[in-house]
Amino acid sequence: MATTPSAEPKTNHIGLSVLDYKGGKTTLCAGCGHNAISERIIEAMYDMGVKPERVVKLSGIGCSSKSPAYFMNRSHSFNSVHGRMPSVASGALLANRNLIALGVSGDGDTASIGIGQFVHLMRRNLPLIYIIEDNGVYGLTKGQFSATADLGSKLKSGVINDLPPIDTCGLAIELGATFVGRSFSGDKRQLSTMLKAAIAHHGTVMLDVVSPCVTFNDHEGSTKSYKYVKDHDEALQELSFVPHFEEIDVEYDPGTTANVTMHDGSSLRLRKLEEDYDPTDRIAAMTRLSEAHDKGEVLTGVFYVNTKAPSFLEMLNMVDQPLATLPESMTRPGREALEAAMEELR
């Protein structure tokens, strides 16, 4: 953004300063990937000019699930129970369709105990940004393998994981999520861009963000360590994002760059690093992910975007106002209604 030398603090287009997006002091380990993700979230929300009061932060249980306490104090937040945040988030959105819902989970919270609710959340295409802070272990319980741990990955104790990982991105696409990507807590640019696009999307956004656990899974032999991810990171595209409220638009070459127009009019630009990868082709996306899996790549980028599918809230055909605050006149039918119902039963 253009910086004009001035006294008063820099503000975004709704006039808030970045401080209005800050959270409490983190109690996570120094260097934990989760902290970096919190910073990216603050950045993206600030840049997009999202009103904090419209945002709800939801999480399950885990180090990752604690992180909502460390950003955006001006947003309501619900740190619920382990693995069941999707249902709580769903309920909140049913009650108030105008909320911007951000779900933060961990790989254990999502792929182990939480996989059931995750599957059904993805099916419903509920407008929610679902972030998995993925470190392959249960950080808060001191480093046991989670269901995203790669085959052959090694714990400090020497224990080797002998079960295949669940690819949450492949699963999300297979099940109906409409914006699916993977990034890395250490990749500021890619992650911020993805988050901004996520905010612009209406529907379920599923982002698997590899986020190393420095205390329990950042060692030699781990496939979720900073080093391993840096070495195996395979970016599918180079991302850029042009928010709807920015006049000046940037040129791009349709040949090498795919342009996706988001619901709010913003554009997500994906400069292809791989020949003819089409992020709107579901089958191609899943195929590419399976390949990556077989090759042992940490494939990052936006794998799939579908801006056409209706969101769950649209299907429910609700009134525009939030159900939460409807007046009694709209939620309690009149006496004649009761009388009619009684008459039918006589």
């Binding site: 309920g91 609700m318 525009d320 939030p322 039918p333």
Partner: protein, 612 residues
């Protein structure tokens, strides 16, 4: 000729002479999936329309088709609508159970059976009527494939003929039953008429039972408890319903969907509600909690297995203080148990549902009218006390047909509890979510989306202080837990008070709740007339217990707690709540067979315990 010549012996013989009017139970034994349900409803309504108090109870198997089912219609001029054990009039349509059904009758009872079953050979102390259904059906129903269904309407006609139920009312009932389907209505009417004519022409009425027109049902309605609850929730302003199907609760939400579509969709065609079928009960209650947190009036309906699955989330709602309404339509447990039998077996585990020190408010309806009214109470209490409210109905109440006065329109406006708006925050500047400003243990909350920089707070199931900040401090934890206790104590004086019925200066008290009520009121009369035992009766309507409950026990020497479970679950809750010296007065009468409680069982057991 069609009637047997066996002259009924014993009781049967005498019965022949006296006339028993508007006091009988008719049982139709058939197989499920055979469409007998509509015939039974027609029979029930026809009697009801003649002004005779009735109740209908369906005893069905936990499968979809082909197994034995019994439908019992009780007609009683006194207005007793609880279950009656003894069957006076059996309609035996199910070859598989006909023998047992007949053998289990008391002497003098009547049996209507399908000719080929030749049941009259079984006993000589009963009154038998044989009916050649297939012949009769053939005459009225040319289409062979429809006959199976219509056959059931024939017995309605025969019964009407024998008991002198007016065909006009039978016709009205049929027209109502098949509402728009005129052809079906006509066909069924023809079948009923054929049965009626057959009875008049070829059956010689014996036995003492008659239905006569009276005036005790004018203006009344017939409805099942689940439908009543559905209506109640709609008028309570419920906005979010999440559910996962389970017998016997499914029909609550399914009926609610119908009602909501009819009465809660605006002129613009937009719904003022959301009803979502969740993937399971963990998700259903998670959604209820998420919605309640965000300000909706949210609910779910389930049964025992669902309640167990909701344990963890229930503790979260208790500790994070989130409103929500859970309907538990109790069925027989443990585990899957008997899904199509009734019980009051979830009382104790629900009161303390979830690990750690947790307690929950429970409301307990006894009638369809209370299913309706307690729905409003439940939502109001849930939001006033920012906690879950469990409405403990049961299969007997929820799925059976009950006669009732029409429901009264809610008299009080919807109570949303302590919710701070943007405007109030402007004045206050800020707030502390869990601070007990009013001394009632209840804090103030804000709804997500409230457009004020100080509106937000952090909700969590982990330790927190007044401001809802994370805290592991022993004093914060202890203070918070004590406040939660205070809140629960406050609830005592807000939950529905018990109903108390007095006898003539009785020393003996009876405490019961839910559907046991109907057996109790009848049993009290039996105790008075047969054993000269006067009783006072307190019907519990909620947990925690109000002052009246303690007083009632204080004022009686012996108090019989009657309930439908093995472990005297409500008596247990009373024991825990009472002054220890009062607990000596409690006696348990528990009923465990999965059938609705009948007066006779209570009368027998209580009189015996009283040494009579």
């Amino acid at each position: 000729m069609a009637t047997t010549d066996v002259a009924p012996q014993g009781a049967g013989g005498q019965l022949g002479r006296k006339r028993i009017v508007n006091d009988m139970s008719i049982q139709v034994a058939t197989v499920n999936g055979s469409g007998s349900q509509s015939s039974n409803t027609v029979l029930l309504r026809a009697i009801f329309q003649m002004g005779v108090p009735i109740s209908g109870k369906n005893l069905f198997p936990s499968n979809i088709a082909g197994l034995p089912t019994w439908y019992t219609i009780r007609a009683n001029k006194e207005g007793y609508i609880g279950r009656k054990k003894e069957i006076d009039f059996l309609v035996a349509m199910n070859a598989e159970t006909a023998q047992d059904d007949v053998m289990s009758l008391d002497p003098g009872a009547s049996v209507l059976y399908d000719e080929p079953l030749a049941l009259d050979k079984l006993r000589n102390d009963l009154i038998f009527y044989s009916v050649p259904y297939d012949k009769i059906v053939a005459t009225v129903c040319p289409e062979a494939k429809l006959r199976k269904l219509v056959k059931n309407m024939v017995y309605v006609g025969v019964v009407a003929g024998l008991l002198e139920i007016e065909m006009g009312e039978v016709e009205r009932a049929i027209r109502k039953q098949f509402a728009k389907k005129v052809k079906a209505a006509n066909l069924n009417l023809a079948a009923a008429q054929a049965g009626f004519d057959y009875a008049k022409a070829s059956l010689q009425k014996r036995g003492a039972f008659y239905i006569e027109r009276m005036d005790k049902t004018a203006g009344k309605i017939i409805i099942d408890g689940n439908s009543a609850a559905a209506l109640g929730c709609m008028f309570a302003g419920c906005t979010v319903v999440t559910w996962y199907p389970i017998t016997p609760s499914s029909s609550l939400v399914e009926t609610m969907i119908e009602y909501m579509k009819e009465y809660r969709i605006g002129p613009d065609g937009k719904a003022t509600f959301a009803i979502v079928q969740a993937e399971d009960e963990l998700a259903a209650i998670g959604m209820v909690i998420g919605a309640g947190w965000a300000g909706a009036r949210s609910m779910t309906a389930t049964a025992g297995p669902g309640i167990s699955l909701m344990s963890e989330f229930s503790g979260l709602a208790y500790y994070a203080e989130i409103p929500g309404v859970i309907w538990d339509i109790q069925r027989v447990g443990p585990s899957t148990g008997l899904p199509t039998r009734t019980s009051q077996g979830d009382i104790l585990s629900t009161a303390f549902l979830s690990h750690g020190d947790t307690k929950h408010i429970m409301l307990i309806p006894s009638s369809v009218a209370e299913c309706f009214s307690m729905a409003s109470d439940a939502f109001n209490l849930a939001e006033q006390f920012q906690t879950l409210v469990f409405v403990m109905s049961d299969l007997d109440l929820g799925m059976n047909n009950w006669m009732s006065d029409p429901f009264e329109y809610p008299t009080t406006p919807i109570k949303r509890g302590k919710v701070l708006t943007k405007e109030e925050l402007d004045k206050l500047g800020g707030f502390a979510r869990y601070k007990d400003l009013d001394g009632d243990g209840v804090g103030y909350r804000t709804l997500p989306g409230t457009d004020h920089p100080a509106a937000a707070y952090f909700t969590r199931g982990s330790g927190h202080n007044d401001k809802s900040n994370y805290s592991e401090r022993p004093d914060d934890y202890e203070n918070n837990m004590e406040r939660l206790n205070r809140k629960f104590e406050t609830a005592r004086s807000f939950v529905p008070r018990p109903e108390i019925l007095k006898g003539a200066n009785a020393k003996i008290g009876i405490i019961a709740y839910g559907t046991s009520h109907w057996g109790i009121i009848e049993s009290r009369d039996q105790l008075r007339t047969e054993y000269a035992i006067e009783t006072d009766y307190l019907r519990l309507r909620a947990y925690p217990f109000t002052r009246e409950v303690h007083e009632f026990i204080e004022h009686h020497d012996r108090v019989y707690v009657v309930e439908q479970n093995r472990d005297a679950q409500m008596l247990s809750l009373l024991k825990l709540d009472l002054k220890p010296e009062l607990t000596t007065r409690l006696r348990s009468i528990s009923h465990l067979d999965g059938l609705p409680l009948d007066a006779r069982s209570v009368t027998d057991e209580l009189s015996t315990m009283e040494g009579k």
